[in-house]
Symmetry: C2
Amino acid sequence: MNGNHEDRKVPAQALGKQSIRFINPVYCIGSASVVGKKEGEGPLRDLFDVILEDDMNGCNSWEEAESTLQRDAVSTLLQKSEIRSENVRYLFGGDLLGQSIASTFGLLSFEIPYIGLYGACSTCGLSLSMGSMAVAGGFAENVICVTSSHFASAEKEFRFPLSYGNQRPLSATWTVTGSGAFLLSSSKKTGVHAAITGITTGKIVDYGLKDSMNMGACMAPAAADTILQHMKDFHAKPADYDKIITGDLGEVGKTALQDLLLQKDIDLSEQYMDCGIEIFDDDTQDTHSGGSGCGCSAVVLSALILRQIERGIWKKVLFVPTGALLSKISFNEGKSVPGIAHAVVIESC
Amino acid sequence: MNGNHEDRKVPAQALGKQSIRFINPVYCIGSASVVGKKEGEGPLRDLFDVILEDDMNGCNSWEEAESTLQRDAVSTLLQKSEIRSENVRYLFGGDLLGQSIASTFGLLSFEIPYIGLYGACSTCGLSLSMGSMAVAGGFAENVICVTSSHFASAEKEFRFPLSYGNQRPLSATWTVTGSGAFLLSSSKKTGVHAAITGITTGKIVDYGLKDSMNMGACMAPAAADTILQHMKDFHAKPADYDKIITGDLGEVGKTALQDLLLQKDIDLSEQYMDCGIEIFDDDTQDTHSGGSGCGCSAVVLSALILRQIERGIWKKVLFVPTGALLSKISFNEGKSVPGIAHAVVIESC
């Protein structure tokens, strides 16, 4: 990656108000997923790279366990991709914990320049967006994007420690224990068939909802805003995509999103799916509205979505992780729960 | 910003392991600083744009007050720069609070695509780095980078609420109540004389220190690592800079940094200063080791450093905000306090 790139063409086109089209695609040349026990018993069980036997992963705290998810996801990715960490120019990472400590302690051993991101459960989309910019802009040949969440550390961070045994309403989602890591590159590798070709960066959208046990409803307006803007900026329609996939709206948010977009004459019914709904089987796993967390969209992207694209089953996907921008403090102080959603176009190539 | 940029040259050169040189400089066409009462009584009192009469700024909570700092910094910047928010393509923002809620609630009213960053007190450097990449890569014409901290919300977040009246050791720093915002642009404006010409992105550096009341010592190794790598990547020496300025190492960290670099034959004594030491007068303001927080480096950059560069008094500055990557939870669980530092080269132009 040394050397002067003055002679390379700028491979990007800013579209409309919030989008970028990458003229030279950013190749996703590898990915890895690490999940907890419950996720490993769900419908996607055969697709994950690593399934933990115990969600503590040999650690003394939930936070430390979450760190090991990121560490293991990046290690697995480096191994699968046969690339050394010295050849990765940036790590774009994030998680849901206060001050992103899962990323700090999970990623420090790699000694790769680190860009910490926070977009709540949308962080996977944010990391892919910023990683793509770094690669497409000619600032890096290879970057890794990684995010995680952990059911136990998230419940403690946002609601109550598990040992309190609090009840969960049916609108609540179940934070996924898992981490997904992605290797983005300016060079195509043999056998690689997935590339990021565009992004739409979301705005903070606040409908004034305050129920932290109904994140789907809080995030749906942001997902609608980003998808609508994406369609405008790219002059696209839902039929241009094989799938339009949100991160973790769950059952409640899914309905809200589709209703909001129908009001704008955008009908997602043919293409829509949600990572949070795919990852668990609510009939047998009792996860209520579905999975959530910035590990949720990341592991589903790695295990399911990229696999379908790699195989050419899906040619073009709009991946839209969604985040609820609250903290325990903002919630306790009576603030609303604004949402944000970052869309990434992934195509087979 | 619409239109095809295929014909533009990529204006960046990746240097060494961690650095980028922007061949086309990224202009800093405006900045704004908003500070609290105590900061407004310190040595830089005459240089800030807005000084609050009351650190609650008319709000009901410290967190809400911190949000208004970011809101007011961005509003002041837009006003000073005579630019409308629709013409700003991205907001790169962050703060120290869990889940970055000061940024969420402070920035939502601007309706600008938002990229949330977390680098603890280094976030100002991180935001300028990522903002510069977005501009230099041709992804945006104008972006705003904004960070904040607030003494009362930070004490509550990392140590104890103020009403507990806990004692502070002499090694402790005083979190600055303030927010600084910067408008970066690909186009030079009449009267603008400051530009970002390079960056060195830091790694997470952990020397195993655990004292959250001595952040300076925790962060000094990261600052040393980034400055050393910067000098290698750019084939530079301290004398190439008029000033080398860390974010908030304070008195303890300042000594540690200089000692660490002297061991590598880098002598900063001629050029070195620290924003945390500049912002308060310890003799009269009782701030112990100095100021800290990602508002500290941001407001000193806006009020003092850019002013000196604009006037041509300093031609070339290496600005190195430093961050301590801990949370109340990681601290209480006995983890170390790793550091990170992101360097930005700012030149008069």
